[in-house]
């Protein structure tokens, strides 16, 4: 567990399409996966590289400082794991017996999801909201103030 110089490490892809890490001591780790330390507040920095057994091998503070092609490989791997749709418009929020169904437009298209309780809506400061649905998917509203008026009205009932 360390934060080595980015220039000393290297990413590659093996024939099976798995991500391979060669660390600062030249040790090869196959099938590693990246995980964000701050997935909601600082999602472009602080990437932990975890082994197959979910043990941390090392930590990269700024992936942008990696030399190519390692950088692209890492960012692609991150993008594949990253699924936090950003809510752009709230169309309807329907109350159920035990929760609500949200109908929204996100940066990944239209969708609807079920939210269990009011506690599933969390404020992260600076107007940033995270909504955790019943399946543990996270939806992000980066700034409540910049939503349109109608969406804000709808949100007001629940948050």
């Amino acid at each position: 567990m360390s934060t080595p110089q980015p220039s000393c490490i290297e990413f590659a892809k093996d024939d099976l399409g798995r991500l391979v890490l060669v660390d600062q001591d030249g040790v090869r780790h196959v099938n590693v996966h990246p995980a964000k330390l701050f997935p909601l507040t600082e999602k472009d920095h602080w990437i932990s590289i975890q082994s197959e057994g979910a043990r941390e091998i090392l930590c990269i503070e700024d992936p942008q400082s990696l030399p190519e092609p390692s950088r692209t490989l890492l960012l692609d791997a991150l993008a594949m794991r990253d699924f936090v749709p950003i809510i752009q418009v709230i169309h309807r929020i329907v109350r159920l017996a035990d929760g609500h169904v949200w109908h929204v437009t996100t940066d990944r298209g239209n969708t609807s999801f079920e939210v269990e309780t009011d506690e599933s809506i969390q404020a992260l400061g600076h107007g940033r909201l995270v909504i955790v649905d019943r399946r543990n998917t996270r939806y992000l509203i980066p700034n409540v103030a910049s939503l349109d008026r109608v969406s804000k009205r709808k949100l007001e009932h629940y948050y």
């Binding site: 909601l40 507040t41 975890q50 930590c59 969390q122």
Partner: protein
């Protein structure tokens, strides 16, 4: 007179008032103070040797000794302990200054006691609080908004006045239009009807607009005042010492800031302003009626006081019932609050039936009290209607008679009836005012009660800023009393910078108190705590506590992300620092397994963490502030042995190079301690290393043996 002390018992422990007075040169004792012929004894200070205080259970004995003999002995109940102590301190100071031994230290004591006396004076003055006093004090909170207040008053008067226009217009409408129309004796200007209707509509519009403005302005003032109260109370609460919080129930403090201020807001914006309008309406109505026809005015207003008095009587009767109903309601709540969280225990002991029965009894009680209230209440509302109808009847009777004798017109009579019936409508709401005023006064009193507490760790004016300490701690003859109990009974101990010392001993021995004294959560009663040679009571508390790291048995996480919780003591910490602290505290791995890693919400409403995980976050929190002095209060007590090992590894990182005081029941936690201090009943029993203490086979050896037995069992 320098100081005085009221005594409330005589030597035979009967309640009897006495007074001990300290002057510049003498000490006097009055017996039966307050009676017409008090007798007194006096002694010259120079001839006195000692004035002692001894606690004897629920009472306190004061012994006055001079020339080697007991000159006087008085008793007080333990409620007077602080007064007695303050008095004795004054006595000693006066005595010392007489014998020319006065030191600079005395001057400081003096100031402190002066403050204390003020507190006592304030306490004496309490007892019964007239409702006007706390409510008047509310006004002082409204001072910054005096312009708004003035606007609110003007709008209130204007809107009440506007309400008076409609009946006035009706009078002319009846006399100049309607009656001529019907009798058709003279030519009628039909267009006058339109004029009157328009005027009435305008009056209604004006009333609406003024009422709107009034309600909004008054509500805003109420919100300003209560918001300021909430803020000031919370700020004040944050300044109070831990001893205050130990005395108070958390729920009670929360409700004082939360709901009591809410009651006040409601009182100002609704109850008070309604009452004010009603009074204005009464005055306006009276003036108008008298200006039209004094005889009819007397007839119309005459019954008002009687009706008001009757309404008040019935309402008084009801109030007791409502109070009983709300008590019954809270009883039911407490049964629920007891049973639902304790459901595992209920089921385990198969006591469901008993809980159902308990609930049934509480529920029956609610039914009975509500039923009783309903009986009175259903009688009450029609009763008010009857009373007002009777009042109107008088107006009709006198009015009809006057119309018959041509002293007034039909229009005037109509106007009178309209004025007086709109007034009677308000009677019910007026009668509610006394009750709401009392409730608001009680709420205001409860809020001011918090605001008036003086911090018992007084803020020093010229406090020393210690900056970064090396971490030497010395307890010098420390004594600490809590109420009348002496918890620390004289402890002296010196801890070198970077040394780890373990406190062991049975529960209630005073270990945590000692640590609280070192943190200056409590103020020592006697002696001193010194850090790096500075007396703690001369040091700026906030500045000193920057040197402290605290890891408690029940780690407390605030509602927020894990990163925010780790950075609680150092909000400006970088992400690199946060991650490094979490790594050192062995928390990084489990944090990375959470769905949002460092951005996961924790605390009461957030992610559930195990005790060991919470503890490691609190260790990371302590690590991040890099404290010179570290306090571990039972940091490993509430977790299993496996987790304890994890925490232990994290702690080993933390204690390195810091002065550490660790309290532990699990003696394994203390293996890195260079010295163990065994504390029993507020005194140090033994000091030494683990091996030394085992060899001496004293208290520690006994504790150790007991622990081994438990572990092997």
């Amino acid at each position: 007179m320098v100081a005085r002390l009221m005594t409330d018992l005589d030597a035979g422990l009967h309640f009897r008032h006495g007074l001990i007075v300290l002057t510049n040169t003498r000490l006097l004792h009055f017996e039966d103070a307050g009676s017409s012929q008090p007798s007194f004894l006096a002694w010259k200070l120079a001839g006195l040797q000692e004035f002692n205080l001894e606690e004897m259970g629920a009472t306190i004995a004061l012994h006055l000794i001079g020339n080697g003999t007991l000159l006087g002995q008085w008793r007080v109940t333990s409620g007077c302990l602080r007064q007695a102590e303050a008095f004795l301190a004054r006595f000693r100071e006066q005595h010392r200054s007489l014998s020319g031994e006065d030191t600079g230290a005395a001057a400081r004591d003096h100031e402190v006691e002066e403050d204390e006396e003020e507190i006592f004076a304030a306490e004496d003055a309490e007892g019964y609080i007239p409702p006007g006093k706390p409510l008047l004090r509310l006004l002082s909170f409204a001072r910054p908004w005096y312009r708004l207040l003035f606007l609110g008053l003007t709008l209130t008067m204007a809107s009440t006045g506007a309400q008076m226009i409609a009946p006035w217009l009706t009078m002319s409408l009846v006399d100049d239009v309607l009656i001529p129309l019907q009798s058709q004796t003279e030519r009628v200007h039909v267009h006058l009807v339109y004029v009157f209707i328009t005027e009435l509509a305008l009056a209604a519009l004006l009333t609406w607009a003024l009422n709107w403005g009034k309600t909004f302005v008054v509500a805003r003032i109420a919100e300003h005042v209560t918001s300021r109260m909430r803020r000031e109370t919370f700020e004040h609460l944050q300044r109070l010492s831990l001893t205050y919080f130990n005395r108070k129930r958390t729920g009670d403090l929360i409700s004082r800031i939360g709901s009591d201020t809410e009651h006040l807001s409601l009182f100002i914006s609704v109850n008070f302003i309604d009452f004010f309008c009603d009074v204005l309406q009464f005055i306006f109505t009276a003036v108008i009626l008298f200006s039209i026809n004094p005889l009819l005015a007397v007839a119309a207003l005459g019954p008002v006081p009687i009706v008001a008095w009757l309404v008040q009587r019935v309402r008084d009767h009801l109030r007791g019932g409502f109070a009983a109903a709300s008590r019954a309601g809270s009883q039911l709540t407490s049964v629920l609050a007891d049973t639902i969280p304790g459901v595992r225990v209920v089921k385990a002991f198969a006591q469901e039936k008993r809980e159902i029965e308990r609930f049934r009894v509480a529920d029956k009680h609610i039914f009975d009290t509500n039923d009783r209230v309903n009986k009175t209440w259903s009688f009450f509302t029609p009763m008010i209607k009857l009373l007002t109808d009777l009042g109107l009847l008088i107006v009709w009777a006198v009015g009809a008679w006057s119309v018959a004798h041509d002293t007034i017109t039909v229009g005037v009579l109509t106007g009178f009836v309209l004025y007086i019936s709109s007034f009677y409508e308000r009677m019910d709401s007026m009668s509610r005012f006394t009750a709401s005023m009392q409730r608001a006064a009680a709420s205001a009193h409860r809020v001011f009660d918090v605001l008036d507490v003086k911090p018992d760790v007084p803020a020093q004016r010229n406090a020393i800023k210690v900056g970064r300490l090396s971490g030497e701690i010395e307890f010098r003859d420390v004594k600490f009393r809590y109420g009348s109990r002496e918890i620390i009974r004289g402890i002296s101990l010196k801890i070198a910078p970077g040394e780890m010392v373990g406190f062991v001993g049975p529960s209630g021995a005073g270990k945590t108190t000692l640590v609280n004294l070192a943190c200056r959560f409590f103020e020592v009663s006697e002696g001193a705590v010194l850090v790096d040679g500075f007396n703690l009571s001369d040091v700026d508390v906030m500045d000193y506590r920057k040197n402290l790291g605290l890891v408690l048995q029940e780690p407390y996480l605030f509602y927020g992300t894990i990163a925010e919780n780790i950075a609680y003591g150092k909000p400006e910490a970088t992400r690199a620092e946060i991650v490094a602290a979490a790594r050192a505290a062995r928390a990084h791995d489990f944090i990375m397994r959470l769905p949002d890693a460092y951005d996961s919400m924790v605390g009461e409403r957030g992610q559930q963490l195990s005790g060991g995980e919470r503890q490691r976050i609190s260790i990371a929190r302590a690590l991040l502030v890099d404290p010179a002095i570290l306090i571990l209060d039972e940091a490993t007590s509430s977790v299993d042995t496996e987790t304890e090992r994890e925490i232990q590894a994290a702690l080993d990182h933390l204690v390195k190079g810091r002065t550490t005081i660790a309290i532990a029941h699990r003696l394994g936690t203390l293996r890195k301690a260079s010295r163990l201090v065994v504390i029993e009943e507020g005194l140090i029993k033994e000091i030494g290393s683990h091996d030394e203490l085992l060899k001496s086979s004293g208290t520690y050896a006994r504790l150790h043996e007991a622990m081994l037995e438990v572990n092997h069992a």
